[in-house]
Amino acid sequence: MAIASEQQTVDLREPSGWRRTKNQIATVGMWVAFAVMLVPLGFVLFTVIAKGASAISWQFLTGNIPINVLPVTFGGVGPAVYGTLVITGFASLMAIPLGVLGGIYINEYGGNQVLARVINFFADVMTGVPSIIMGLFIFTIWVLHFGYSGFAGALALACLMLPIVIRSTYEMLHLVPDSLREASYALGATKARVTLTVVLPAAIGGIVSGALLAVARAAGETAPLVFTILVTQTLNKNLFYGANTALSTLIFQNATQPYTGAQARAWGSALTLIAIAFILMIVARLVTARFARYDR
């Protein structure tokens, strides 16, 4: 403190005018960048709520899809809600366990082996593969042989989710301290037991929240479904046979319809879809806040 007061003759803290101005311009620029991002977000949320909220009702969420010319007061988008929930749910059932196991392999068994590093690297690359490629891929290996079905859509979404779950699981397991593992080995536990009863529970908060974010992303995807479920308007409860429908594909179809009723159904579906994604995201945040022991 004494030294600082002695140095008052040399004013180190006051940069010259232009340097200070430049600094202020830069700071303002960063805030402007943030504002630029907020504008479209606020704009799109406002539009979706303004145009979609009036459409939402119990009848809208459960009723059958009417023909496009009918106004939004007739029928609803029930089959699409059903399709989105069932297809995304089934995709999660496939992708989350496999993804967690893959993440366990990379972090617990792979060590520094080349194979584990290659898998980790390509899982990362796979998260960047466009979702439309997953749709085309399932089209070529599944739909061409077994036909369009909700299950094909679930396969495509699972391909999309798998690398995301693997990566987030790996990152969470990586945070678990080795002392926990060593303590369990010292008690004579096998590797599988250590992983399943000590390491995995220690990281479960982060893994669950990562998986939920993957589900949120998959629920909104359209491109993988367009090629695999062949959109229909009627309710199809059979996941494994026949065309199916989903909220995202319904929005895609109705967006270009000239009828106000069809467009209103698209806005209502958009609000439903955003609500599903937001709820999943908020649950993921709560899980992280409540259960995550090792935060990044």
Partner: protein, 329 residues
């Protein structure tokens, strides 16, 4: 015996018990299960490459190099040139990057250098909010709200610029439309901003505090500190983040399919309608029931796959190298 056990890669260090020769069956089968799940990634990627290439051979063999990379797209007369779509993909992704790069890096710097940590968290939540809005919702909004509104702005800009030499080639033109290259670029920019921001933020956060303090100790302002200490350190990583954003922008399908205008033309006029590879696949696939048409669309999927894989590989390599260098320093 002991040498053989040591060489066995299936026996990880922690569980190698010298008392028993073999690990219990459940333990080994769990490891095999995990390995199988991990290998699934490589299997899926290989299957994508094989099955899609197989389905597109008709197009590649009948059209040949000159046919694939021609501008002639006329499915009614069996002409499937992919050049307009490759051009549209590159142009819209470039517009998206030009817009998203300053915004993302600005927000990343704001979060790491300006805002205190406890205020940074809510901003991160807002960015995450942007990331979970589904692409089809951006498309719906872009098509029904943004495009009609932009049309008027485009028209006044285009008419104001007639005769101006360079600018009119990009922002002029006669068939100005609300659904255009530029609108698509804007929507893509919004969609890739969250990922570019969060990756840049991770990279910038690795800059050692001692570098920052050193710059401040020399009397630098915050901006000079960013220029002198943060930027040289995180440059490569930010470039990698931008490349990953570029890959995302190229593959974005549904939003682009709705707002790009669906016109297979190559033009320098950014306010004119165009087309891109993913959007043409999504829009035309229903009509392409058999033969070369479908083969051409899947072939464009292969081109897109190869393009995004190359971009992702190089981005990852750049990020990894810069991360390793910063750890070593």
């Amino acid at each position: 015996m002991s040498i053989a056990t040591k060489a066995d890669p299936a026996l990880p260090a922690g569980s190698a018990s010298p008392l028993t020769k073999r690990r219990p069956f459940g333990d080994r089968s769990f490891q095999v299960l995990c390995l199988a799940a991990g290998l699934l990634v490589l299997i899926i990627l290989a299957l994508i490459a094989i099955s899609m290439t197989q389905q597109s051979t008709t197009w590649f063999t009948t059209a040949g190099w000159s046919g694939v990379f021609s501008t002639n797209w006329d499915p009614a007369h069996n002409a499937y040139g992919a050049l307009p779509f490759i051009y549209g993909t590159l142009v819209t992704a470039a517009i998206a990057i030009v817009i998203a790069f300053p915004v993302s890096v600005g927000i990343a710097l704001l979060l790491t250098e300006v805002v205190p940590r406890r205020f940074a968290r809510p901003i991160v939540y807002v960015i995450d909010l942007l990331a979970v809005v589904p692409s089809v919702v951006w498309g719906l909004w872009g098509f029904l709200v943004l495009a009609p509104w932009l049309q008027k702005i485009y028209q006044s800009i285009a008419s104001g610029l007639t005769g101006v030499p360079v600018l009119s080639t990009f922002f002029g033109g006669t068939s100005v439309s609300g659904t255009s290259f530029f609108t698509t670029g804007l929507i893509l920019a919004i969609m890739i901003t969250p990922i570019v921001t969060s990756l840049s933020r991770e990279v910038i956060a690795t800059v050692p505090t001692i570098d920052r303090e050193g710059a401040y100790a020399l009397g630098a302002t915050r901006w000079e500190m960013i220029r002198g200490a943060v930027w040289p350190h995180s440059q490569a990583g930010v470039v990698g983040a931008v490349l990953l954003g570029l890959g995302r922008a190229m593959g974005e399908t549904i939003a682009a399919a709705l707002v790009i205008g669906s016109s297979a033309t190559i033009t320098t006029h950014l306010f004119n309608p165009g087309y891109s590879m993913p959007s043409v696949i999504a829009n035309e696939f229903g009509e392409a029931t058999v033969g070369e048409f479908r083969s051409a669309l899947i072939g464009m999927g292969v081109l897109l796959f190869v393009l995004t894989i190359i971009i992702n590989l190089s981005a990852r390599a750049i990020v990894d190298r810069s991360a390793r260098r910063s750890q070593g320093a």
